[in-house]
C-alpha cells in the first residue's frame, strides 16, 4: 500500500453534525490547521443525509436550560451527567441561530420568534441541513476535508493520543495522520443486532447503517473509560419503513392504540423506553398490532405529513401513496427497532468531562460517541462539537507534543496488508456480520426475545462474540472498500463485547426494553443509582461503578 503522511494541529474523525461544527468553531477561534477524515463524503454523510424534520432540542420561550436537563434526567431515570447536559443546553439556542445564518429555514411566529412545537422543539425545513453545514466547512481555508478516508484506529502511547491511521476506501492509500489533538465524532453504532427486516431491506433502519461504532471501539481498545453501554436505544418507528413517529405523535397528536382501538400509552408511561415497552407488551398479550391513531385527521394535515416525511424519511410518504390511503384513512402501524448504541439519544459513550475531554490526553469526544448526555439530537451534537473545539484550542496552547512511532505505523500497515493479502478465507465478512447479529438478537436482548435477557444468555453471547472476533482475524478483502468492511465488523464486535459486559453488570431493570434484565426485573435505587463504566485492562473489561454527579456539581477526571 502507498503511504501518505500528514501532520496537522487537529484531526477530526468524522464529518457529520458534531465534526463539522467543531471544525467551524476551531476556524473561528484560531488559525490552527484542521483535517477532517470522513469515510464517505461530507455533503450528505452522517445522521442528516436525508434531512431532519424538526430541531428537537431548543429552549423555547419561558423555558430554561435546566428544564431541558430535567427532561433528559427524567427520561433516563436519573442516569445522566447533569453537568454535561447543562453545558450543552446552554448552547442550544446559539447554535440554532448559527444554523439559520447558514441558511436553514426555521418557522417563525408573528413576533419573529421561532415557532415552538411543544416545550423543546422548533419547526424547520431540514432537507438540506447537512449540505449547508458541509458548505460552511468546505469554505474554511484552514480546514482540509479528506473524503473517503476511513480511520481504522487512533494511535495512543502513555495515555496520550498522537493521531490516527486511515485507509482511502477507493484509493487504497494508507494514511498516517499525526495531530496534536484529536476530536472523535464518529457517531454511534448501528448493525450490532439483527435488524427489523434482515433481508433485502436490512439497511432500512433508524440510524445510519454506516455508523459502526468506530469511535467507541477505538476508545475501548486504547483503555479509555466508557460509560452506560447498557442503556441501549430502541426507537419506536413506523412499521417497515422505520420512519420517525415523533412527527405523528407531536405533530398531529396521534395516540398509541392497540388493535382494539384502546389508547395504551398512558398505561405504561411516556418516557422513550416506556413507549417501546408498552408496544411490546400489548403485542405479547395478544392486542397487537399497535398503531399511531391518525384516522380522522384533516386533509390539510394529510398533505403536511406527506411533505414532512419527504423532508426526512421519503419511504413513508411512498408507503402511504402506494397503499392508496393517506394517514387520515389508516392508522400507522408501529414497531420497536433493533437496539442501537447511540450517545445522542441515551447516555452511552466516552466518559468525558465538561470540556468533552476523554480519559486519554488530547482526545476529545462530541456528538453520539460522547456519553453521559442523552437527547442531544442535532443541536446538542453541534453544541458538543463547539465545546470540544473550544477545549482543543485551549489545549493546543500547552504545546504538548505527540508523535506516531515507526513501529506503530508498521504494525497497522501489516494488519491491513494481511487482510488484503490472504487469498482465501472460508467465511465472508458479511457472513460473520450476520452471525454477530444473530448472536446479539438471540442472547443479548434483541427483537427475538422482546429485548429481554438474563445472565446465562449474556454469558453465551460473550463467548460467541469472542469466537467471531477470532474468526475475523482470517478474513480476506479484495479491495480497500471490502477492507473497510472488515474493520467495521471488528469495531462492532468490540462494541458488542462491551455492551454485553455492561448489560451483565447492572443488576436491576431501570429502563424497560432498553436494559430489561430478567434476573433482576425491578429497579433498585439503593444499589444501582450509579453509573456503570468500564475500561479495558489487559484484554479484559473492568467494570467501574461511579456515584452520580449531582445537580450543581461538576465531574473532573481524577482517577
Amino acid at each position: 500500500m502507498d503511504i501518505k503522511r500528514i501532520k496537522t494541529d487537529v484531526l477530526i474523525i468524522g464529518g457529520g453534525t458534531a465534526g463539522c461544527y467543531a471544525a467551524m468553531t476551531i476556524a473561528e477561534r484560531s488559525d490552527k490547521k484542521v483535517v477532517i477524515c470522513e469515510k464517505a463524503h461530507i455533503k450528505r454523510s452522517g445522521c442528516l443525509a436525508a434531512g431532519v424534520n424538526a430541531l428537537n432540542a431548543y429552549i423555547v420561550e419561558g423555558r430554561t436550560p435546566q428544564d431541558y436537563v430535567d427532561y433528559c434526567r427524567n427520561d433516563a431515570a436519573g442516569i445522566v451527567r447533569e453537568d454535561l447536559l447543562l453545558t450543552m443546553s446552554e448552547r442550544l439556542n446559539a447554535v440554532t441561530e448559527r444554523l439559520e445564518q447558514l441558511g436553514l429555514v426555521i418557522l417563525k411566529d408573528e413576533n419573529g420568534k421561532y415557532a415552538a412545537r411543544g416545550n423543546r422543539n422548533i419547526k424547520i425545513n431540514g432537507e438540506n441541513i447537512k449540505p449547508l453545514l458541509a458548505s460552511a466547512v468546505q469554505a474554511l481555508p484552514d480546514v482540509t476535508v479528506l473524503n473517503r478516508v476511513n480511520i481504522t484506529d487512533i494511535d495512543v502511547t502513555d495515555n496520550r493520543v498522537n493521531g490516527a491511521f486511515g485507509i482511502g476506501i477507493e484509493s487504497g492509500i494508507f494514511y498516517v495522520i499525526e495531530a496534536a489533538a484529536v476530536i472523535i465524532a464518529t457517531g454511534g453504532a448501528a448493525g450490532l443486532y439483527k435488524p427489523n427486516n434482515p433481508g433485502f431491506s436490512r439497511h432500512k433502519m433508524w440510524y445510519p447503517p454506516f455508523n459502526t461504532g468506530a469511535g467507541y471501539a477505538m476508545g475501548i481498545r486504547h483503555g479509555a473509560e466508557m460509560t452506560t453501554f447498557e442503556m441501549r436505544f430502541i426507537a419506536l418507528r413506523c412499521k417497515d419503513t422505520i420512519a420517525p413517529t415523533g412527527t405523528l405523535a407531536q405533530g398531529v397528536g396521534a395516540k398509541q392504540v392497540n388493535s382494539l382501538g384502546e389508547v395504551y400509552e398512558t398505561k405504561y408511561g411516556l418516557t422513550t423506553s416506556e413507549r417501546v415497552y408498552g408496544t411490546v407488551n400489548e403485542n405479547q398479550e395478544g392486542r397487537g398490532p399497535c398503531y399511531l391513531r391518525t384516522e380522522g385527521i384533516t386533509p390539510e394535515q394529510d398533505e403536511s405529513l406527506l411533505k414532512a416525511y419527504l423532508n426526512m424519511a421519503p419511504s413513508q410518504t411512498l408507503k402511504w401513496i402506494e397503499s392508496g390511503l393517506a394517514p387520515s384513512g389508516q392508522n400507522v402501524e408501529i414497531e420497536g427497532t433493533e437496539p442501537y448504541i447511540v450517545g445522542g439519544h441515551t447516555a452511552s459513550g466516552f466518559w468525558v468531562d465538561t470540556k468533552r475531554s476523554t480519559t486519554i490526553r488530547g482526545l476529545y469526544a462530541a456528538g453520539d460517541v460522547a456519553g453521559g448526555a442523552p437527547q442531544k439530537y442535532v443541536t446538542g451534537a453541534l453544541a458538543e462539537g463547539e465545546l470540544a473545539a473550544v477545549s482543543v484550542v485551549e489545549f493546543l496552547e500547552s504545546n504538548d507534543t505527540s508523535e506516531i512511532s515507526e513501529g506503530s505505523v508498521q504494525a497497522q500497515l501489516e494488519e491491513a496488508e494481511r487482510f488484503l493479502g490472504e487469498d482465501h478465507s472460508l467465511y465472508s465478512t458479511e457472513q460473520l456480520e450476520e452471525a454477530m447479529q444473530t448472536v446479539m438478537d438471540s442472547y443479548a436482548g434483541g427483537i427475538k426475545t422482546n429485548y429481554r435477557f438474563n445472565e446465562k444468555q449474556l454469558d453465551i453471547a460473550d463467548r460467541k462474540i469472542r469466537q467471531l472476533y477470532a474468526l475475523s482475524d482470517s478474513l480476506h478483502a479484495d479491495d480497500p472498500q471490502e477492507l473497510m468492511y472488515i474493520y467495521e465488523l471488528r469495531e462492532r464486535l468490540v462494541v458488542c463485547r462491551s455492551v454485553i459486559a455492561h448489560l451483565k453488570a447492572r443488576h436491576e431493570t431501570r429502563w424497560h426494553s432498553f436494559a430489561e434484565n430478567l434476573d433482576y426485573p425491578e429497579r433498585d435505587d439503593k444499589n444501582w443509582y450509579k453509573y456503570v463504566n468500564s475500561r479495558l485492562e489487559n484484554g479484559e473489561i473492568k467494570i467501574i461503578l461511579r456515584d452520580i454527579t449531582e445537580r450543581g456539581t461538576v465531574y473532573e477526571h481524577s482517577d
Binding site: K123, R202, K204, P314, L318
Partner: protein
C-alpha cells in the same frame, strides 16, 4: 429500500457516486453508474437529488411492502418536485417549497 439506475439515461457525471453516504455507487468501465451493494442502501435519496438527468429512482423493497412504484425528484428553483411513477402508469407529484418550513 434501494435505488434503480437507468443505464441509458446516465451521463457518467459521477455525482451520485460522490454523494452516497455509504459509497455504494460505482461507475462501470463505460462510465455508467450502478449500485454495487443494493442491500446496503439506507434510502436517504441523496443520489436522486444529485442526478442532473433524473436517471435514479428509489423504491421500497418487497420485504417491506413495496409495490413497484419508483420515485425521483426534479428541482425548479426553490421547489423540489417529488414524482412517483406507479406500475399502472399513473403519476403523482408532491411539490415542496424548500423555503417553507414543515408544519409539524
Amino acid at each position: 429500500m434501494s435505488i434503480a439506475i437507468d443505464r441509458d439515461k446516465c451521463i457518467g457525471c459521477g455525482k451520485c457516486h460522490d454523494v452516497c453516504p455509504g459509497t455504494l455507487i460505482r461507475l462501470d468501465d463505460a462510465r455508467r453508474a450502478y449500485i454495487r451493494y443494493p442491500r446496503d442502501c439506507w434510502g436517504c435519496t441523496s443520489c436522486i437529488k444529485e442526478c442532473p438527468v433524473y436517471a435514479i429512482r428509489f423504491y421500497l423493497g418487497a420485504d417491506i411492502g413495496g409495490m413497484g412504484s419508483l420515485v425521483h425528484t426534479e428541482r425548479e428553483g426553490d421547489i423540489l418536485r417529488w414524482i412517483i411513477d406507479s406500475p399502472d402508469g399513473s403519476v403523482s407529484e408532491i411539490r415542496i417549497d424548500q423555503k417553507e418550513s414543515n408544519k409539524y
